[in-house]
């Protein structure tokens, strides 16, 4: 018995397994779907072809009807939603006005994200066979975005959810969604979904979906290379040169994202209490190099807080290490080699990243180099959840790096209210700027586009010139790793990775 024959024998037995072509979508993602809880985990269902929303965000930045036939503003505080006729939940039940109203009520009652964007006084009432009239009380200018956001108002069949209570396993196979693929099994390894033949747009392209939860980035890449999955999400862009030469592995790029890698500074503690240091940091970052060298051109250089394609975007970021150094010198931080100190205190910061986004490691390494170039020493700490760590002060941090959108599904209020507003639930750094606060509050109830844009531009100016707190490091391009057979796959915007017609190359 030689080693060689043993190895070969094993290999023969093994490679036979995945060889047979099947007609399901095999996808790997880094985040585990923990349960079928529609409140805390429900948003995942939009991403992989289970759940759907009333509106849909498109790659060009517009928002179009999805489960709704149309959504119109009839007055400053009134919207009329007309539902699409003939849509059914995967359990066969009709998606009619009462069902949608029940779903909306369910989310408004339990989902803090929904509560944050919809005024408590808003009412949803049936005003026709397929018509819902929304009276928001105060103006809600971004209603279409709210309806298009996966974490806000997913349309589900509420009755089975209420019957299941906390026994979320009962919802596997219950068909509470309207999408092309119905969840039949969810474990800590994978989610299996089957084609829903009654789907309203037609027969879904594939027989089902097998979604694997693979937190290890190497394993996701190797799985594509080895033909075990067709599509792997969250590829490390830093490894783009590897993908270029690896057989059966292709880096697919889609539209520029509404999000990027944001850097949030802790203004309550440490070095960033000082506004001059914050200003200097924003000017120390080489945005061009980040996008083109660190991420091999698979990201777009950040020129401002927003993707420049949005009409309100201000392109006011600049890379100017000389000015950054001058600012720190002027603030009394005396440079000595790679570090600076003042009154015996060294200028140093802690960068906080998290492991599910592999690109944060090269990004934070580059950030360290930029900080060092202006004399700021830094350490990196990796936490499982930045939200949890920052909001509960679990670790000491100064600069949190998070992948998030500033205009997710076209909405600016979500980001501003959660991350920037004084009492925002993701205001990691304890930032509270009176003028910005005033602008955010006014913006939330202003319908007129031109005045909205003016306010947004003023916020962007303050965040660079006067009182920096959060800045974009790079703008993402939607991306995925795909096998040769799936090389035409277009990575989706708004996380809608699997659509009803998603299929391999013809």
């Amino acid at each position: 018995m030689t080693l060689r024959s043993l190895l070969l024998g094993g290999a023969l037995a093994l490679t036979a397994l995945p060889a047979a072509a099947d007609d399901i979508i095999r996808m790997a993602t880094s985040f585990q779907i923990r349960s079928m809880d529609p409140v805390s985990q429900g948003f995942w269902m939009q991403e992989f072809g289970q759940g759907e929303l009333l509106m849909k965000f498109q790659p060009d930045g517009t928002i179009t009807p999805w489960l709704a036939e149309r959504v119109e503003r009839t007055a400053d505080t009134t919207w009329v939603i007309t539902l699409r006729d003939g849509v059914t939940f995967q359990n066969g039940k009709a998606m009619d006005v009462p069902a949608v109203l029940a779903a909306i009520a369910f989310h408004r009652e339990r989902n803090s994200g929904t509560q944050a964007v919809l005024p408590a006084a808003a009412t949803f009432t049936q005003t026709g066979p397929l018509e819902i009239t929304v009276d928001t009380g105060v103006p809600v200018p971004e209603m279409p975005s709210i309806l298009a956001h996966e974490s806000r108002l997913m349309i589900i069949d509420v009755a089975p959810v209420l019957a299941a209570g906390e026994d979320y396993e009962a919802l596997e196979g219950a068909g509470i969604h309207t999408g092309p693929y119905k969840v039949v099994d969810l474990t800590d390894q994978r989610m299996i979904a089957e084609r829903y033949d009654g789907y309203w747009q037609g027969i879904p392209a594939m027989a089902g979906v097998e979604l694997r939860f693979v937190s290890d980035v190497n394993a996701r890449i190797l799985a594509v290379q080895n033909g075990e999955v067709d599509i792997a999400l969250y590829p490390p862009i830093a490894a783009a040169p590897v993908f270029a030469v690896t057989p059966n592995v292709n880096l697919a790029l889609g539209a520029p994202s509404t999000g990027g890698f944001l850097s949030v500074m802790d203004v309550m503690h440490g070095a960033f209490e000082e506004v001059e240091v914050r200003k200097a940091v924003m000017r120390a970052v080489n945005y061009e190099e980040l996008a083109n060298e660190v991420f091999h051109g698979a990201k777009i250089p950040a020129t401002g807080l927003y993707n420049p394609r949005f009409p309100w975007a201000v392109e006011n970021y600049s890379y100017d290490p000389a000015q950054a150094n001058a600012m720190l010198d002027a603030a009394g931080w005396v440079r000595d080699g790679d570090t600076r100190s003042r009154d015996g205190e060294t200028l140093s910061v802690t960068l906080m990243i998290y492991p599910q986004q592999p690109d944060l490691v090269p990004l934070s390494n580059a950030m360290q180099a930029y900080l060092r170039a202006v004399g700021i020493a830094s350490e990196i700490v990796s936490v499982e959840s930045v939200n949890e760590a920052a909001m509960n002060d679990l670790v000491e941090w100064d600069l949190a790096m998070v992948a998030t959108g500033t205009a997710t599904v076209g909405s600016v209020s979500g980001f501003l209210n959660r991350y920037v507003a004084c009492e925002g639930d993701r205001n990691y750094g304890g930032y509270c700027n009176a003028r910005i606060q005033e602008l955010i509050e006014t913006l939330d109830v202003t319908v007129d586009e031109d005045s909205r844009y003016d306010m947004l531009r003023e916020i962007q100016t303050i965040l660079v010139e006067e009182d920096p707190y959060v800045f974009n490091a790079t703008i993402l391009i939607e991306r995925a790793l795909v096998s040769d057979a799936w090389s035409d796959y277009v990575p989706a915007v708004a996380w809608n990775h699997i659509k009803w017609d998603t299929a391999p190359n013809k």
Binding site: P241, V242, V245, N365, A369, R372
Partner: protein, 290 residues
């Protein structure tokens, strides 16, 4: 040994005089000592000087194959791999030495105290040690890292907590043995103060045996620390450490396999040096070796 976990080798009984000379005369011993000294110099040098800055990216030079300027090539951000392996040596070898120094001192203190104090102190300390020893090697380390979170300091603390008990047990047994040796008994009867007996007669022998054990465990410690760092639980980026380097390089093996080889060889050589010394120590222990 190759165990992922901490192997707990038997400390060979070695004649305490002329130990270094005997080791030097033994071919394996000499090779191991030379290799170890070389690695130590490499680590010390790496702590103060490297040919290129180990942590600063140079994107224009990313993923270059080995060359004269970059003997181990450059990594995905253009950092010189030779410099990173050199810089990482202080964290791989240095951390292992630090952990061993800590368990050596704790073991020595607790063991001698326990062996000489007897009674309640002894029972308390040894029960504590027994509980620590009841855990499979490393598992306690994982548990402590789970409590404290990742980081080099936490890792070192975790390994010390997981390992001290074995040294304490050994030190206690050795000091009990030394206590009843004729010259110690005679010294006691002659009224030599207790601390002088400990200092002069018990400590040196116990310390030597514990030191030998620590030497034998050096390779295992390096593999443990690099293993934890490979998992991201130890040394944090951008700092280089051999296990962390392996983990960083994994992604790029398809186009830059040499990145995987350099840290692996570094780990291999340092464990090999400790193993070679270990072989010599075992040989010296047997009658033919003397």
């Amino acid at each position: 040994m190759t165990l992922l976990g901490l192997m707990r080798p038997q400390a060979p009984r070695v004649p305490d005089r002329y130990l270094m000379r005997r080791l030097w005369r033994h071919p394996s011993g000499r090779a191991g000592l030379l290799l170890g000294a070389l690695l130590l110099v490499f680590a010390l040098l790496g702590a103060v000087w490297t040919p290129h800055p180990p942590d600063i990216p140079d994107y224009a030079n990313a993923l270059k194959p080995p060359s004269l300027a970059h003997p181990f090539g450059t990594d995905s951000t253009g950092r010189d791999m030779f410099s990173r392996v050199m810089d990482g040596a202080q964290r791989s070898i240095g951390s292992a030495l630090l952990v061993l120094a800590a368990v050596f001192l704790i073991g020595l203190a607790v063991g001698i105290l326990s062996g000489l104090a007897r009674g309640a102190t002894d029972i308390l300390l040894m029960r504590l040690a027994d509980i620590a020893l009841a855990m499979p090697p490393l598992v306690l380390g994982f548990a402590i890292l789970g409590l404290l979170g990742p980081g080099l300091f936490n890792l070192l603390l975790a390994v010390v907590i997981a390992e001290w008990a074995y040294y304490a047990r050994l030190a206690r047994a050795l000091s009990l043995g030394a206590r009843s040796r004729p010259h110690v008994v005679a010294a006691r009867m002659a009224g030599v103060p207790r601390w002088r007996i400990i200092w002069g007669h018990i400590l040196p022998g116990v310390a030597l045996q514990l030191g030998i054990l620590a030497t034998l465990q050096l390779g295992i410690m390096i593999s443990v620390i690099s293993g934890f760092s490979f998992l991201g639980l130890g040394v944090q980026p951008p700092h280089a450490e051999w296990g962390a380097l392996l983990s960083e390089s994994r992604l790029f093996f398809a186009i830059a396999p040499w990145l995987l080889i350099a840290p692996a060889v570094a780990i291999f050589l340092s464990i090999l040096s400790a193993n070679l010394v270990g072989i010599a120590l075992r040989d010296i222990e047997t009658p033919e070796g003397r």
